[in-house]
Every structure is written in C-alpha cells, then in structure tokens.
C-alpha cells in the first residue's frame, strides 16, 4: 500500500469518525465536502491527463481538483491579510521545494526519510511561519510542490531540454497531495502544542491564524 493511499484512507476514516472535525472547521470545510474532495481526487487520478500543448499535462485528481480546493480555501480565508499570508506561504513553499530538490542528495537512500515527506515538512513550516492557519498550510503544501514543479519544468525547457511538465501527474500518489496533508498535520501539531503550552484551552481559547482566540471568535 503506497504512502499516499495509506494517508488518504486514514484521512477518510478520521473524517468519517468525526475526528478531524476541529481541523476541518478551521479550514472552513464540512465533513461531506472533505469526503467529496477525497473521492474526487481518487476518481480523478484514473482519468486521462489533460494536455496543455506539448509541454504541460494536468492530472485531474492530482492537480485540478486539489487546485480547485485551494481556490475554495483561499476565497474562504477570513481576512485579506490571511490571503496575503497564504500567497506568501505558497511562494515560500515553492521556493523551498525547488531549493530542496536542487540541494538535497539525488539518491533517496541518502535521505533520512522519504523525500515525499521532506516537501510536506518544508511547506508546512512555510505555512506555519507565514500563514499560521490550516487553510494556508494546505494551500502552501500543495501549491508549493505544484509551483516548484512548474518552476523546474520551465527552467529545464528554457535550457533546451524537452521535458514534460506533468502537474500532479501521479494523482493521489503525487508529492503535492502528501505535502498538503503533512503541512496541515504539522501546522495542527504545532498549533496544538502551542495551545497546550500556553494553557489557553483552560481559558476557553484556542490557537487560530497565528494567535489565540476565544471559542466564540472562531471563523
């Protein structure tokens, strides 16, 4: 069972059992919407890729639907400042993904853990440092890998190499989705740790969008 299928199945179970209710609430998604997107991404993976000219292909499950979800999350962002931070987090995520791809050792056996996780952690950190919200984390995680791939593809084409830029080409098995999920998980984890450390929950507060809010202020 591949890493992404394991992650998505676990995600599906957690959504069904309501365990991700708080996370989804903070992302502005309902359980049904989350399950719909998961199912659509799985189904979209097996559909033929959309070719945009000779150089670019787009996978429906791995790029188009998660991109739609990113747009939805972006529109649902609470404030204009959160949108700006989300864009910055996505750009920083893309820069990190691109830089890590160039800088890390090329052979997987040289890395401490799968490179699929490294991109998620990098994008998650970008989201935490700039976005500080689960919405920003998802967008930064996914768009980071997508834009990083696009940037690398464009550079290779400009260098004269006939590469195909396959956006989300591996569908639900693509690094972008793994990065998005791990970025949200990381942000949630850091948020919860910070909440626990501050003892805010004892005061009826929770950590959201980079600062503590009372429960009734939740957006």
């Amino acid at each position: 069972m591949s890493l992404s299928i394991t992650l998505l199945t676990a995600l599906g179970f957690l959504v069904v059992f309501g365990a991700l209710q708080r996370v989804l609430d903070r992302m502005g998604l309902t359980d049904r919407q989350a399950l719909f997107f998961v199912a659509a991404m799985i189904a979209g993976t097996f559909l033929p890729d959309i070719a945009l000219g000779e150089a670019v292909t787009v996978n429906i499950g791995g790029a188009l639907i998660p991109f739609g979800l990113c747009v939805y999350l972006f529109i649902r962002a609470g404030t204009a400042w959160e949108r700006v931070r989300t864009i910055l987090a996505a750009l920083l995520g893309a820069a990190l993904v691109f830089a890590l791809g160039r800088w890390l050792p090329s052979e997987p056996e040289h890395q401490w853990f799968s490179d699929l996780w490294i991109y998620g952690i990098a994008a998650g950190l970008a989201a935490f440092l700039l976005g500080r919200s689960r919405r920003a984390a998802f967008v930064a995680g996914f768009m980071g890998v997508l834009l990083g791939d696009l940037l690398q593809g464009v550079i290779s084409r400009l260098q004269g190499y006939e590469v195909t830029i396959a956006l989300g080409g591996a569908g639900i098995l693509d690094a972008g989705l793994i990065a998005a999920i791990s970025a949200v998980t990381l942000t949630e984890l850091i948020g919860e740790i910070r909440e626990k450390m501050s003892g805010a929950r004892h005061e009826g507060q929770h950590y959201h969008n980079g600062h503590f809010q009372r429960q009734e202020e939740k957006s």
Binding site: L3, A10, V97, L100, R102, W103, Q159
Partner: protein, 382 residues
C-alpha cells in the same frame, strides 16, 4: 520563552536537510563496504546507511552496521546464507504475455566509454540500454514498453518527477513488472563479468526497504537471481536493499536495475540486456516452456512450469504471493497504526487532568455524535 522554543523547533526542522547534506559528502563519490574480515564486499555510488542489507553474488546476506559517509567506507556483518526460492512459475493462461514497463529516473546517465560523457542531460546512454532491453524483452515473449520521458535535472526531485511517469505507465499499461533502469557510478571492475567467453556488464538489483512492497520486491529479486544463477551465473551480481523508496511503493513488482557503471564500456552493458531479458521472461513465465528451449540455452533445472494445456489450472501458492500478502498486511498494519496514533493523540488533547472520565465521555460524544450538542457554527454554515 515559549515562542522561542517554537522558533527553535522550526529551525531544527529546517536544519534536518542541512544535517543530511553535510553527512553525505564523500571523498570518492562511492562507498566501499567491507565484511568482518576486511574484505571488500561491494562498492556502490554515494553512501550506504546502517541497516541496509545486501545479498552477495554467492547468496550470503549481510547487514550494514557501520557507515562513514565522509570517508566512503562501511562495514557489514554476515547475517545468513540465503536460500533462493525455486522459481515456481505461476500457472498462466495459454497465451500469457507478461507486460513490462520500463522508464529511467536518471535519464541523463551515460557511459564515458561509448557516449563520451557520464551525463548527457538531453538524453543519456542509459535510454539506449533501456531501449535495447525493451527490444530484447519483446523478442523473449514479453510485451515491453519504454517511456523515455526526460526527468532532468539529476537532483533530489528526479524521483518525484519519475513518479508521475511510473504512475502513468501503471495507469495506461497495467504492467506485470515495472523497471527503473540505471547505471551505477563506481569503478568499472565492480561490474565486469565474463559469460560464455565474452566480457559483459553484470546487473545489480536495488530494492527500497522504505516501503510496504519491500518483502514482495525482495522475493521477486531473489527469484530473478535464482533463474539467472542457473542460466547465467553472475549475471545478477547482487541485490542491494537500501534505505529509500525508489517509487517502489507504487506496486509490488517494481525493481531498480543498475547496468554497469559510468566507467563500463557501453557495449558490455548492451550485451547483458539480451541475457537479462531472457531471465526476466523465464521468471515471469512468458510463453516459453522447458520443452521449447531458446536456441543455445539450456532449460532451467529446477524450474517447473505447467504444461501449456494445463496452464489455466489454478496456480500453486508461491512464496512470492505470500510475501505480497505480507506486504499488504504490513500496509494495513501501518494504516491501523496511524489510526491508533491519531486516536491516542486526539484523546490526549481532549482528556485533561482531574476529570478524565468526563473528558473521555466528551471524546466519545465527539467521535460518535451520540448525545453531543449541536455545533452552532456548523448549523450556521448549513
């Protein structure tokens, strides 16, 4: 203070890649692994990791116990003698033609002697080797497809890019076997081999031990080596089980092959493709039988194959099948583990000191929805 700890955590996480990178600078570009007696076991490009395993040409399993990446040296201990599986060919339909999909993650890899350079970004000599292997497989009773998608640059993102190619091949071709064709980067004598009086390059099989398909892929690799050892001893020089994924989490019959090194004469690598194609064809039970031997090649002793008229009979359960099951079970185990950890984590956040009973009931209500109060925010959204 607390903010400081969090930023320290972020810096530490960001520092992981730095530490990884710093740890991997080698003097030679390859690692030499020694056994307990100091004899050289193998040389492999880059570095090895503690815990990696290795099945030598003479079928002895070793485990890496020490690794000095900077010096390019590692030590391995003998673990056990490996008894290779008898190549039990699954009973197949009469016109069984295994489909093999090939691609090259490092499309730039080339042979200095033959291509003029060890790396050609536009498309290296490794694509020629993969192309030749594809042709030989097609002539050996298999249906082989090569995807020549270029994955340059040769960096850490190459496997991420080739993952798309691998998934595309799986989606469109439904292959029996997925092969990622490479060449190594060690001195040429590591791969030099003589077979039937001619020099050629031997082949190393590399398996990622960082994914759930590891047991199934190891079993397949051992079966291929069993067939090769009987037909062309030494053709499969060894099996390396390294830390990493190599996109082998995608399917259970997925292997990485190293055809010589950058110093190998390309012609030697080309010669080995015909032999390997035949070995793969026999291992996968392509439409050949011991009664119809390939000209000039002896039937495989010990390899049983159902007669053509009986090939539709149910296949005997093979060791490999058992390992695929174990791989699937491991996957389910990982899934259950994640769920259990998630459950424990959630419980830890909900259960507070002093009123654990009440909090546990609260958690139960949250999980099941039974007896829970309606969430005003969610109602409002609806």
């Amino acid at each position: 203070m607390k903010k400081g700890i969090l930023y320290l955590l972020a810096v530490l996480l960001l520092g992981i890649p730095v530490a990884v990178r710093a740890d991997l600078e080698t003097q030679t570009g390859y690692c030499t692994v020694h056994d307990e007696n100091g004899a050289v076991l193998l040389r492999i490009a880059g570095s090895v990791q503690i815990g990696d395993e290795y099945i030598s040409s003479d079928n002895r399993r070793y485990r890496i116990v020490q690794a000095d990446a900077a010096a390019g040296h590692a030590a391995a201990v003998f673990v056990e003698d490996v008894i290779l599986p008898e190549a039990i060919l699954a009973a197949q339909a009469q016109e069984w033609i295994p489909k093999i999909a090939l691609y090259c993650t490092h499309t730039d890899e080339s042979y200095v002697e033959g291509d003029g350079s060890e790396s050609i970004a536009e498309g290296g000599g490794i694509l020629d080797i993969a192309g030749l292997l594809t042709q030989e497989l097609n002539e050996s009773g298999c249906e082989a497809i090569l995807d020549e998608t270029n994955h340059v640059p040769h960096d850490a993102g190459a496997y991420r890019r080739s993952r798309k190619t691998a998934v595309s091949l799986m989606k469109e071709e439904f292959p029996t076997l997925l092969l990622d064709v490479h060449r190594d980067a060690v001195p040429e004598d590591e791969y030099l081999h003589e077979l039937d009086g001619e020099e050629l390059s031997s082949v190393r099989i590399v398996i990622g031990r960082g994914n759930a398909n590891y047991p199934a892929n190891e079993e397949l690799a051992k079966t291929i080596k069993a067939v090769a050892d009987k037909r062309y001893p030494g053709l499969i020089k060894d099996i390396y089980m390294g830390k990493g994924d190599y996109n082998q989490d995608l399917m259970a019959r997925s292997l990485l092959l190293e055809f010589g090194s950058h110093e190998t004469d390309k012609q030697m690598a080309e010669k080995s493709t015909a032999y390997l194609a035949e070995v793969l064809s026999v291992t996968l039970g392509a439409n050949t039988s011991p009664a119809e031997p390939t000209p000039g090649i002896s039937p495989v002793p010990g390899v049983t194959q159902a007669p053509k008229e009986n090939r539709s009979a149910p296949a005997a359960p093979s060791e490999e099948g058992g390992n695929e099951d174990r791989g699937a079970m491991k996957g389910i185990g990982i899934l259950l583990g994640i769920l259990a950890l998630a459950g424990i984590g959630i419980a830890a956040f909900f259960v507070r000191k002093g009123n654990r009973g009440e909090s546990a009931l609260h958690l139960l209500r949250e999980m099941t929805g039974v007896g829970s109060r309606p969430d005003p925010d969610r109602e409002e959204r609806k």
